[in-house]
Symmetry: C2
Subunit: 422 residues, 2 copies
């Protein structure tokens, strides 16, 4: 049996708002599966080599539950338009380039590497509508050590000039893509109607049926922007609310992931909670595109599953440290919007959402629970000025706010060491 023992300041998020800290603690995994965090190394591991990381922080790695791989080339640019104009002006032309497999290979290799270097080891990701490029993306993620779900986008209406399929092609390519996905071990397919305005009823019906037949999860967008919500209402006059355009085609269950959910009212939120749908909060993107501020505190109070997404490239950062800080900031904007009546997210709450909450979508228990696959990062904050001694919680807070390149020194994903800065 292969045993991994990491020694350092082990910090994990076992519940919303709680941090467990074990100074000079031991995080142990057997054959890539966590057996526990121990203040003193249990006798049964005597003689096993210990990777002593000194004072470094040993943290759960991140889960990024919503991002668009083919928008990576435009990351950090072009954010002066609202959602629907932004899609047509910047996004669709950028995605159209992924018809070229060589281009896709080069970009996705870079993306996969950057994800791992930033400590993101689980994703729920949109590709473009291109089958080849989607398979290349999955291959590059698999090679780099990123786990999770990737979806070939379905889009048979309202696309760009070079970014639309016929219904027939969309169906055929989806089946062809699923055929070819079988070889990936850590990266699995997820059905991905881009959003309701992008898919005809015929295509939606096909995808819903396919999800049921093959037991596949579904990801999409929900109630991101007011103009979008109005548009969906016009497209589906039979549906009182946006979520029902997914539900009526059988794509509304506990494996469904819905990004944004900025404009979900109580009724829509009840439907989310009752079905066990996971909401992905994309704070940076919602602010950059002036979509609004999602009512995350209300969702958490109501028992809705909420995780975080970078949503590149509506979001401007791939690093989930930034995404965590952005979520905290957004919660403070929400507090101001709600006339100071809503509690903001604390750092430990933000950290939980960025790690344990996302990981739970992949079947893990919160924190470094025994039985979880080892997903962890080692964080070196010694480059930051140290004008006074800090607690582990303060160090974590500072890393969230003041993250810096190269602070992530080592990354484990699904039990494997997939990155080492040395």
């Amino acid at each position: 049996m292969a045993i991994t023992i990491l020694k350092g300041t082990v910090v994990s998020a076992p519940a919303l708002g709680r941090l467990d800290v074990t100074e000079n603690g031991y995080l142990v995994a057997e054959d890539g599966v966590i057996s526990g965090v121990f203040p003193v190394l249990p006798e049964r591991y005597a003689g096993v080599p210990v990777e002593d990381l000194g004072n470094a922080l040993i943290l759960q790695s991140f889960a990024d539950l919503h991002l668009h791989a083919p928008q990576y080339p435009m990351l950090g640019t072009g954010m002066d338009l609202p959602l629907l104009d932004w899609l047509n002006t910047y996004t669709f032309p950028t995605e159209a380039r992924f018809a070229d497999p060589d281009y896709a290979r080069a970009v996705y290799r870079q993306l996969a590497r950057e994800l791992v270097e930033n400590g993101t080891t689980r994703v729920c990701m949109f590709s473009s509508l291109h089958t080849e490029a989607t398979l290349i993306l999955m291959d590059e993620l698999e090679k780099a050590g990123v786990t999770g779900y990737v979806g070939k986008v379905n889009m048979d209406r309202n696309g760009g000039e070079n970014l639309q399929e016929t219904t027939e092609v969309s169906i055929r390519e989806t089946l062809r893509w699923l055929e070819a996905c079988g070889d990936f071990r850590h990266v699995k397919p997820i059905l991905t109607p881009r959003f309701t305005p992008s898919c005809t009823d015929e295509l939606m019906a096909f995808l819903g049926k396919l999800a049921a037949e093959r037991d596949l999860p579904v990801q999409s967008h929900l109630s991101e922007n007011r103009a979008e919500v109005d548009w969906v209402g016009q497209l589906h006059p039979d549906c009182p609310q946006y979520w029902e355009t997914y539900a009526k085609f059988g794509m509304w269950n506990s494996r469904t992931v819905m990004a944004h959910c900025v404009w979900c009212d109580e009724r829509e939120r009840r439907a989310i909670r009752d079905a066990g749908v996971t909401v992905v909060h994309c704070a940076d993107s919602n602010q950059n595109l002036c979509s609004g501020v999602a009512p995350i505190r209300a969702m958490l109070n109501e028992g809705i599953k909420v995780a975080l997404g970078s949503d590149i490239a509506g979001g401007d950062h791939l690093s989930m440290f930034d995404v965590t800080a952005a979520s905290i900031r957004a919660s403070k904007a929400r507090r101001v919007l709600d006339d100071w009546q809503t509690d903001f997210l604390t750092v430990s709450e933000g950290w939980y959402l960025a790690t344990s909450a996302g990981a739970s979508y992949f079947g893990e228990q919160p924190g470094f629970a025994a039985g979880n696959p080892l997903h962890a990062i080692v964080l070196d904050d010694s480059q930051l000025p140290q004008p006074r001694p800090l607690t582990a919680a303060e160090r974590l807070e500072r890393c969230v706010y003041r993250r810096q390149r190269n602070a992530v020194r080592t990354v484990w994903s699904a039990g494997r060491k997939v990155f080492s800065a040395e």
Copy 2:
């Protein structure tokens, strides 16, 4: 005569919302004073060595018009409280440590270096109430190459247990501090009543008189937080508005700098504009402390002078790239608050506020205008992924959003090269 010629992609902000780009351009300074930006090197400079920076961006350096030097040790921590509680719990105890000159020396040396490394060459800065530490701060800034104003804080009421002076001591120490400031060439004193609740009328009257007698500028805080505004109203029932507590003591004129101004209504804004007071927008801090979102667009439309401040440690970033991005984000939060009726700040507008607008407080013309002292940074964005060719404006936008450590390669301040990463 010493001539500096920098060749590269020269980008400057000559007006709000405008970027001047000169690809393969020459930025020329004679004895540290800019003579111009030229697409072709004028004949009179033939034979003068050219510092060829290749494709790098040559940009104006930053002006940070509001930050608290003694809060640097707590940067990125402790932001879970509103302003007045935050001051008492975190800030005042942190500042109290600067009674120790050795501690001050070590922290301020680090701060000065970090400012320069991040391309901030002009500041308007709060010290603590300690005279020795303030002089040490000025000395460290001067040595590091940071120019601008520093103020010994005055605070004879409502401080912390170890952070308050008697009125008599405050007056005496202010005079002693001013005596000792004479030797600094690039760092000058600015009178600094912490904020109205911190200063008795007697102390305010003294400071106003001193400002007039010695022709000294004044900096303070204005209308940051609703509870603070109410408190000031109770302390000065004779003043209809907060600004009048400064005006009635003669500290309200075109050299006055007021940080935050989140809650300034039309009447208070008119007073700001009519007096030519400079407003410092501290977007990150206002969001972190849930103070609110300052009406920056209204201020700009009304002709108010607005610059940016990092406001460490209410703000969580020293880098003005981040502060620029934070200001843009805050303007989008403001847009949402105002039901989408207010225009957000574009990147080029944010860039202007972070550079030219702040520099104008120090007497400079906008952009790389002839006659300005050379304040410039060389920015290397080649470490960022380059999946497609970008315009200079896109490169700048991306650096604002995706800044990274070590991207600032060289810094000139007041004509001197003060930092070089090589």
